[in-house]
């Protein structure tokens, strides 16, 4: 009898699981499927392609427009992530380890910025960056990305740092390790997973941004892929941009899916520890 209930319960959970997985994956599979369709079958309305082709991928990698945008996306996201993680690590270390006046204020300010309506910055930043010559440049996008990634980085990292048994550092020094050795051999390996998780979350945030990218850029010089997708539409070089847009969309989705697949557990704990527990 007990066995029967667990089997039934398992079945019930199994059905729910399937619903969730389908719900989550259908839109992704659909755009991937479109990207593999030939121009002739693109508008057949079928979920799966009847004829498979890589033509769309060849098209986008042949055009300067997409390749430039991809380079911009990768470069801008990587630089912003690196800077945000370094600054965030410094601040989070101070918040979780040191006692100094103004700590509460900093935590409060970063919370405010996490809730800040980004669109409110669009008009003033547009004008300020135009005056400073930052408009339509990499730094012009990197700066706002760092700003809005920092609260995320600070919260996630200080949650991680609070769990590190810092006494180990003392123990290592007692055993004769120098300050540097204690940090490199003991603390750094313990802190690394937190820093790495934060880097992934920040990267996803930068990679995802559309609002700043569309307002603070105007040419291929600094346009990122989410924005460049808009400009595929109506370009004469593509007869019908749908296939190309879908292929480009798949290309920028792949890294995110890989992150999620490999680091699912870390991403979950990073997101929740950062957002709920501070």
């Amino acid at each position: 009898m007990a066995v029967e209930t667990t089997t039934r319960a398992k079945l019930r959970w199994g059905v729910l699981d399937v619903v969730v997985v389908v719900f989550a994956l259908v839109p992704v599979l659909w755009i991937a499927s479109l990207s593999f369709k030939t121009p002739a079958t693109l508008t057949d309305g079928k979920f799966w392609p009847r004829e498979w082709t890589l033509e769309n991928y060849r098209t986008i990698f042949d055009t300067d427009q997409f390749v430039r945008a991809l380079i911009n996306s990768i470069g801008i996201a990587l630089i912003a992530t690196a800077i945000a993680v370094v600054l965030g690590t410094m601040a989070a270390y101070a918040i979780s380890r040191l006692d100094f006046p103004g700590k509460k204020l900093l935590v409060g300010v970063s919370l405010l910025i996490a809730m800040f309506p980004q669109v409110s910055l669009v008009s003033p930043l547009f004008e300020i960056e135009r005056q400073l010559g930052l408009f339509d440049t990499w730094p012009g996008l990197i700066l706002p990305y760092i700003t809005f990634a920092l609260p995320l980085a600070i919260y996630t990292l200080s949650a991680f740092f609070k769990q590190i048994p810092w006494d180990l550092e003392k123990a290592a020094k007692m055993d004769g390790a120098t300050q540097g050795q204690a940090f490199r051999r003991v603390i750094a390996p313990l802190a690394a997973p937190g820093v790495f998780t934060t880097a992934i979350l920040v990267f996803i945030f930068c990679w995802n941004d559309f609002l700043f990218a569309i307002t603070l850029t105007s040419t291929e010089r600094s346009r990122t892929v989410p924005v460049a997708l808009q400009f595929f539409t109506g370009e004469s070089q593509f007869e019908d941009p749908t296939g190309a847009i879908c292929a480009a969309a798949v290309v920028i989705t792949v890294p995110i899916i890989l992150f999620v697949l490999f680091f699912q557990r870390r991403i979950v704990s990073g997101l929740t520890s950062g957002a709920v527990k501070g």
């Binding site: 409060g108 300020i128 706002p144 307002t215 808009q230």
Partner: protein, 331 residues
């Protein structure tokens, strides 16, 4: 797979231990400071290091948000159209009158409010369900958690294109289910699709925040309630919900503010056509397509004020404990 549950659980346990230890330390510290005892060199060095480490992050955050928002207040008081730069002049609150008496603004405001309220409400229900599934499922917990993270990670614009093509007559598998009608050309159906896209994308985030709250529900309490004959629904409403209340409020606050900023999905799905613009779309249109910095900045300021009011209502009325605020007290 049950290992998955431990990080959150362990954190909760660590978190529970921490306050007592730190609270005990606080009075002693305060007393020392209060007595006016000079700070030891060590203490001073610690302060200096703390400030030094935080300074770059604080500086960037303030420079890129505080200064521009003040600057946009200044811009909002001027007639300033980049197409007619010579006509730039100080006009006081005229821009605010223009915007606040404008039908487009109020339509966009209504659309934004509608999207915010509906999506957040639906997401709370779906997110709670998803959180329960991710937390309690007996099979395939890893798969469910991974799958649920995918919408969170996907670029919003990519997802929006997927929905757009799905509802495009001829091309889309969904449009064909409805006799090839063109739902993205009508207002009500466009809004419904925008909300669907928003809900799909952000429910996992809501679920993750709620799941962190679920991890705090003591398993013993659930077992005890079950032994006392509580039904599943009673266990949910009488045991789980009260414990989860802080997590729910934080999730609601974050999602409400985030939903109010809706932009990407509308941009791709309808481009604001058929009166589906949100306030963010409208501000963008005034700035980039209209090049009207004065009006654009006025909208920026109004959106900022609205978001501040929403946050204030959550914190004061509902007593949402902002994440990190307990952090301050513990110090």
């Amino acid at each position: 797979m049950s290992v998955n549950a431990t990080p959150a659980g362990a954190e909760a346990a660590a978190e529970a231990e921490q306050p007592t230890g730190k609270h005990a330390a606080v009075p002693a510290q305060r007393a020392r400071r209060g007595a006016g005892a000079p700070l030891s060199d060590n203490k001073r060095a610690e302060r200096r290091l703390g400030w030094l480490l935080c300074a770059p992050a604080a500086l960037v955050m303030v420079l890129v948000t505080a200064y521009p928002i003040l600057y946009s207040v200044w811009l909002s008081l001027q007639r300033f159209d980049l197409r007619f730069p010579d006509e730039r002049q100080f006009v006081g609150l005229e821009n605010y009158v223009t915007v606040l008496t404008n039908d487009f603004w109020w339509t966009a405001f209504g659309v934004t409010m509608l999207i915010t309220v509906v999506t957040v409400a639906v997401e709370l229900v779906l997110g709670m369900g998803l959180a329960l599934i991710m937390h309690r499922t007996l099979v395939g917990r890893g798969i469910v958690r991974t799958a649920a993270l995918i919408p969170y990670g996907i670029v919003t614009v990519v997802a929006a294109f997927s929905w757009r093509y799905a509802w495009t007559p001829g091309t889309g598998y969904l449009a064909n289910l409805f006799d090839g009608s063109a739902p993205l050309t009508e207002r009500a159906s466009s809004l419904a699709i925008i909300m669907l896209a928003e809900i799909w994308k952000t429910t996992p985030f809501m679920a993750l925040l709620l799941m962190a709250g679920l991890a705090l529900v003591p398993e013993d309490l659930l077992k005890a309630a079950s032994t006392d004959g509580a039904t599943a629904w009673q266990r949910f409403t009488k045991v789980m919900l009260p414990v989860m209340k802080p997590a729910i409020l934080v999730a609601l606050l974050f999602r409400t503010l985030d939903a109010f900023r809706v932009f990407d999905n509308i941009f791709v799905l309808t481009n604001g056509g058929n009166e589906t613009s949100s306030v963010s779309m409208l501000a963008y249109n005034n700035l980039i397509r209209g090049l009207n910095l004065g009006i654009g900045s006025t909208m920026s300021v109004l959106i900022f004020i609205t978001v501040a009011i929403i946050a204030f209502v959550f914190v004061k009325l509902f007593g949402t404990a902002a994440p990190g605020s307990d952090d301050g007290e513990r110090r």
